[in-house]
């Protein structure tokens, strides 16, 4: 799959910081690699039938390994994985939590 289309589709992230844009692009690229579709960052992945429960688990494991985070407990909610934007927010929050003093 072309990396150009992945990059193009992620350009519309506007107000997000550079780090979040990078996370969005990386997740988009992972999805594109597995599904051969470049998904807009605000598209509902479950409503569109793109992500099965088995693939959702792959996504969780991928995010955990790539960003050195643990997605467990009450963070394992559909809403946190519904779009690339939501996943990016989840990753950013968990990274901040891990980086916080005394965390």
């Amino acid at each position: 799959m072309s990396n150009e289309s992945t990059t193009e589709a992620a350009v519309s992230t506007g107000h997000l910081g550079a780090q979040a844009v990078t996370i969005e692009q990386e997740i988009q690229s992972f999805l594109a690699d597995r599904t051969k579709i470049t998904v807009p960052v605000d598209q509902d992945l479950f409503a569109s039938g793109l992500v099965s429960s088995m693939f959702a688990m792959e996504l969780v494991v991928h995010l955990e390994r790539t960003y050195s985070i643990a997605v467990i407990g009450s963070d394992l909610k559909l809403d946190n994985f519904r779009t690339i934007e939501r996943m990016t927010a989840l990753v950013s929050r968990l990274q901040d939590f891990a980086a916080a003093p005394g965390a």
Partner: protein, 369 residues
């Protein structure tokens, strides 16, 4: 705390000895054996050390599971159940739930996880068991069938519907409204404590709901079954090793038509197939466990592949072993007779052969280049 594979095996050898046959015939594992293994953390050996577990990785845990599976599939099934509960709590539970319950699971309490229902087998999406909020409590109603190890369990994790989503609750087996009925005369893993369960207006505190509930139902069983499948897969490797050992020894020593069975080509064919099944299952399990230990997303599909290859291999391998053994292995309780019955169930539980095939075919289609 035991560390090495040899130490773990020695503990199990001392507790199991040559009793697996009599446990199979009685349909019951001794309580003290389960409690001793449980209180040493050996029934869920992959629980991290901070929660009282041995902290084994998937490869070491798998090797241990295969060893127990080679001795007694009923005991291995109890381990699979305990490990599935621990894994589900580790993934889905809050920090407080992990701290409380994982320590209990490594401290001697026994646990099982309830999925299947009278009308929801392979199609778990048709689950009817309901977990509904009532103020700051939840109320559980429903029926579960063929829940492995439930007969021995102190705690039962019940997966059910909660509104539009799902939830998993930790239920004390002795709670008011819980009925546990033994499944009579199961054809395999006869001492694994299968039970049918009824929950009638069982009231539980909010902190019994894993992670607060509201997860997609499919995520709950995909998570729990991932552990269950890798555990069953390694258990099948154990079945194959026990069969290979018994059949190869018999074929080398039993003489017919003036020579050992092994020198008859039709028997050699069975032996080759059995050896191949053991090796292929081992490699598939090793690969999947390496994916677990590396945190690779491939673990999801590799685990289904390992379960499918190992269960099918075990059922065919055990049948070949029974054929080689002839009357010598045809008595209930014999290691090969047990393997033959137990392996068939492994093709059914934790995702039947056919469900595994559907998942693997779907994967092949979505990843086609």
């Amino acid at each position: 705390m035991p560390e090495s594979r040899a130490e773990l095996r020695a503990i199990v050898d001392a507790l199991v000895g040559d009793c697996a046959a009599s446990w199979d015939l009685a349909g019951q594992l001794p309580n003290d054996v389960l409690r001793k293994l449980g209180s040493n953390g050996l029934l869920c050996a992959e629980v991290p050390k901070e929660y009282g577990g041995l902290g084994l990785g998937s490869q070491d845990g798998g090797a241990f599971t295969a060893y127990v599976g080679s001795l007694c599939s009923s005991l291995r099934s109890v381990m699979t159940s305990q490990g599935m509960v621990a894994w589900t709590i580790q993934r889905m539970g809050t920090q407080q739930q992990r701290y409380e319950y994982l320590r209990r699971l490594t401290g001697g309490e026994l646990a099982s996880v309830a999925f299947s229902e009278p009308e929801a087998g392979s199609d778990l999406s048709t689950m009817e068991t309901e977990i509904r909020w009532d103020g700051d409590e939840v109320v559980l109603d429903g029926k579960k069938v063929w829940t492995t190890a439930a007969l021995y369990a102190d705690l039962i994790v019940v997966v059910g519907v909660q509104g539009q989503a799902g939830a998993a609750v930790i239920v004390p087996a002795g709670a008011a409204g819980v009925t546990v009925e033994r499944v009579a005369n199961p054809s395999g893993c006869r001492a694994a404590g299968h039970a049918n369960l009824r929950f009638e207006s069982v009231r539980l505190p909010a902190d019994a709901v894993l992670g607060g509930g509201g997860q997609p139902l499919s995520w709950l069983f995909t998570t729990a079954l991932a552990y269950g499948r890798i555990s069953v897969a390694w258990g099948c490797v154990g079945i194959l090793r026990a069969c290979l050992s018994a059949a190869a020894t018999h074929a080398a020593t039993r003489r017919q038509f003036g020579k050992p069975l092994a020198e008859h080509q039709l028997i050699a064919h069975h032996l080759a197939e059995l050896y191949t099944a053991e090796q292929v299952a081992t490699r598939a399990c090793e690969h999947a466990s390496r994916c677990w230990d590396a945190g690779s997303p491939e673990l999801v599909v590799a685990t289904v592949l390992a379960k499918y290859v190992s269960a099918r291999g075990a059922a065919r391998g055990a049948a070949a072993a029974a054929q080689i053994m002839g009357s010598a292995g045809a008595q209930d309780g014999h290691v090969v007779a047990r393997a033959y019955r137990d392996a068939k169930l492994m093709e059914i539980i934790e995702g039947s052969n056919e469900i595994c095939q559907l998942i693997l075919a779907q994967h092949a289609v979505t990843t086609a280049r």
